[in-house]
């Protein structure tokens, strides 16, 4: 009927069904109707909320009473709020502790998987498994692995004669535990993505390198790594955007050792990420105005950090 296909149709689309020529909204209404659910939902639960959150951040508001104009004072306070900057620091440290080992291990795994022909499907399945499991259940399990009194990690330390560590109670222990959980959950996922990237590299390139007498290390740095740059960039950006907004991992892992708020991120707020701080300010303190300002602060940090990462990887590519 009144549809225009990409390829020019045989008959004029407007008259094809024998119907009168139509124009504009009447002609296309069914197409707009078909895409409307998403845009309506987005309007109600995306665009309006984001705009409204900017408005809220310019006010003092507990979510129930009346809003009180505050101008930019919430943002002013944010700039000098040492708790927020501690959270920014925690987030970046945890992100780095998780991401660099993860990308390295994922790359190594992918290269090995690419050469191991047998059992490839079994490995892919097993390595992907951590990523599909719920963070809550996994964080509970990791909580027991890192437990001070009966945790497996401390049992191993004891077995080799080292001192035990109160993992979920000390600043670095907390960060390492959270980062380990993230590394465990994402290494296999990224290895599968790297593997897919490796498989697009034409075999002739390796053939030519071997003829020129290049060793495996040289081949990796001269052929594999440059060819993998786009995939590496994708993985890095996704890890940055998701890693800097981590919430569930530290929240569940540290809820039993946090004493002032379930969003505190452990003793001394050592595992409190930016998003945890946002939740604490908003839903524990009911400070919706400041919470909204924190949310925008988090957004800016994530955007800035992603741009920096992007540039670093790109520039290294030009050298």
């Amino acid at each position: 009927m009144a549809t225009t296909l990409r390829k020019p149709p045989v008959a004029d689309p407007a008259t094809a069904g024998g119907s009168r020529p139509r124009t504009g909204a009447r002609r296309y209404w069914h197409l707009y109707a078909a895409i409307s659910p998403f845009y309506l939902l987005f309007l109600c639960f995306g665009l309006i909320p984001v705009g409204f959150s900017l408005y809220v951040s310019l006010h003092r508001w507990d979510g129930l009473g009346s809003m009180e104009w505050a101008g930019l004072s919430q943002y002013q306070y944010l700039l000098g709020d040492s708790d927020f900057w501690t959270a920014v620091g925690n987030t970046i440290v945890i992100w780095a502790l998780a991401t660099f080992p993860m990308i390295f291990l994922a790359m190594v795994t992918a290269v090995m998987l690419n050469s191991a022909v047998r059992l490839k499907n079994l490995y892919r399945f097993a390595y992907f498994l951590p990523n599909v499991t719920s963070v809550v259940a996994i964080a509970i399990i990791f909580g027991s692995v890192f437990s001070t009194n009966f945790g497996l990690v401390n049992a191993l330390l004891q077995a080799v004669g080292l001192d035990q560590v109160a993992w979920l109670n000390t600043p670095w222990g907390i960060k390492i535990a959270v980062a380990t959980l993230m590394t465990w959950q994402w290494t296999g996922y990224n290895a599968i993505i790297f593997l897919a990237g490796l498989q697009t590299i034409p075999g002739e390139l390796y053939e030519a390198a071997r003829m020129d007498g290049a060793g495996p290390v040289q081949t990796f740095f001269r052929i594999t790594l440059p060819m993998m740059r786009p995939v590496l960039l994708f993985v890095l950006v996704v890890s940055t955007v998701t890693g800097l907004q981590s919430f569930s991992e530290p929240q569940v892992l540290l809820q039993t050792t946090s004493n002032d708020s379930t969003f505190a991120g452990g003793p001394g707020h050592a595992g409190q990420t930016m998003v945890l701080y946002f939740f604490q300010q908003t839903f524990d303190n009911n400070d919706f105005g400041y919470g909204a300002a924190v949310a925008w602060g988090v957004f800016l940090v994530v955007v800035l950090f992603s741009i920096i990462n992007w540039r670093l990887v790109q520039r290294r590519g030009e050298d």
């Binding site: 845009y39 409204f52 809550v136 399990i141």
Partner: protein, 278 residues
């Protein structure tokens, strides 16, 4: 001769390393099995028990006494099931339109879609909460289902899939036969994109099943929550006393997901990776 031996040795070493990785991936699941089959006092022993114990049923009974496990699992199934159904319907419809038809404003609308991709959840969280409270949805599963009923990722992904999978000749033919838009969608488009729908469905279901941050805020009635929130409550109240029981909960919560993954693994792994290298 030596080179063949060398390659074989290399192959063995390779598999040994990969096997270590496999064991590391699988170990937390095994550890959960061990913990959930022991009593708390058994867990406290040194050296730790590395083999399953015999107290699983006891822990299971404790779990069912402590939380409404099946109630919250039912809620999770309701949410994940409804969202998956709605996402498949709305996303595939929109994707079909974007992949195969032209209309005024198409490019702008599609660009907007990509932009929406990047809006972080917490920016919208406060107003969303306020809107839901006004609508009276806070505390009910509606607050989880409605905002998730269509998403930018699914539309974008299905569009890529449909552009290649549905041939224009088929649409031309059906249009000449007098099929209108919904008939084309149902009889021409859907049958050929079934594998794509399977991927999106499994992916959506798992994402919803695992969703935690928003349900934690929106489900204000502690007796009527999804499984992830119930697990977190369980860990918060019993996490420092009854380890075996809490671990039993974590283990049981993983099972439905592992089943879904086992069924769709090949597709999920292949399609996700393909999407990333595009």
């Amino acid at each position: 001769m030596t080179s063949i031996k060398g390659t074989r040795r290399k192959g063995v070493a390779l598999h040994a390393v990969l096997l270590v990785g496999l064991l590391l991936s699988a170990f937390p699941f095994y550890w959960a099995v061990i913990m959930s089959t022991h009593t708390s006092s058994e867990i406290f022993t040194y050296p730790p028990n590395l083999l399953p114990g015999s107290h699983f049923l006891e822990n299971l009974r404790g779990l069912f006494d402590a939380v409404d496990f099946f109630g919250s699992m039912g809620n999770s199934l309701l949410v994940a099931g409804s969202v998956t159904f709605l996402v498949l319907l709305f996303d595939s419809l929109a994707a079909f339109v974007f992949a195969k038809f032209d209309f005024p404003g198409k490019r702008v609308l599609f660009a907007l879609l990509m932009l929406i991709f990047m809006v972080p959840a917490q920016l919208a969280a406060i107003p969303q909460f306020v809107i839901m409270a006004k609508l009276g949805w806070i505390g009910s599963m509606t607050s989880l289902i409605v905002p998730a009923a269509a998403n930018a990722f699914g539309i974008f992904w299905m569009r890529q899939y449909m552009t290649g999978a549905i041939h224009d000749e088929l649409l031309d033919a059906s249009r000449i036969d007098g099929a209108h838009f919904l008939r084309q969608y149902w009889h021409v488009a859907l049958p050929v994109v079934r594998p794509g729908l399977a991927f999106l469905g499994i992916f959506t279901f798992m994402g919803q099943w695992n969703d935690y941050a928003w349900p934690l805020i929106a489900l204000t009635n502690p007796d009527n929550v999804t499984l992830q929130v119930a697990l977190s409550q369980l860990n918060g109240t019993h996490g420092t006393t009854d380890y075996g029981m809490v671990m039993t909960g974590a283990l049981l919560a993983l099972i439905p997901l592992l089943l879904v993954f086992a069924i769709g693994a090949r597709q999920i792994i292949g399609d996700l990776a393909k999407g990333a290298i595009k």
